[in-house]
């Protein structure tokens, strides 16, 4: 079956340092990968959508300079939180789907939780 692995599951980083998280699709080819963040007491916000052979599209309030994303092949994506501060803490989820314009199910990883101290 289709699975999405995310790592690390949890990171504690010092304020001002960076954290890289990875997302691995197993059992299917992830033509689209979306990165979401759930800040404390809030719902999930879309950070950016990465579709193979297209430019990565960032949502308002999120930039490539702050959250650079790499999607080099159909099974792997990574995102870095640069210069993390308190407002960046939360649960980061990677969601991968097979086809960007179909009704296919989006498979989520378990999440990477970022704690900033």
């Amino acid at each position: 079956g289709a699975l999405v692995y995310q790592y690390p599951r949890r990171t504690i980083c010092k304020s001002g340092t960076s954290m890289r998280m990875e997302c691995q699709a197993v059992g299917f080819q992830a033509t689209s990968v979306a990165w979401y963040r759930q800040s404390p007491q809030k719902t999930f916000e879309l950070i950016a959508l990465s579709t193979v052979n297209s430019a990565i599209k960032y949502e308002q309030n999120f930039t490539q300079e702050k959250f650079p994303i790499s999607h080099p092949n159909l099974s792997f994506s990574s995102m870095t939180v640069l210069n993390a501060y308190l407002e960046d803490r939360g649960l980061y989820l990677c969601g991968a789907s097979r086809d960007s314009y179909s009704g296919n199910t989006l498979y989520f990883g378990e999440g990477s939780r970022l704690i900033v101290v």
Partner: protein, 110 residues
Amino acid sequence: GQQVQQSPASLVLQEGENAELQCNFSSTATRLQWFYQRPGGSLVSLLSNPSGTKHTGRLTSTTVTKERRGSLHISSSQITDSGTYLCAMERGGGSAKLIFGEGTKLTVSS
């Protein structure tokens, strides 16, 4: 404003009772999806349908796209159903691009 609104924010039930969770969205959606968020934070996809009614087990999802609303019905609730239920709408651009509601926190007690 909030594009996806869920109600109620929280719901407390006795085991065996039915739950009705509502979702309203403010712009055109191609599909509505329902997720269960585990205590650790990860999401479980429950149901997704562009319109009409869909069933799986004790869950029924109904989406009325023209009226920009949807619902999730949980029949004969169990203690293990407790948790947060999130509604998310697809705006187009694929199933990966979702706007989430704030969630309904369901507590089922014995």
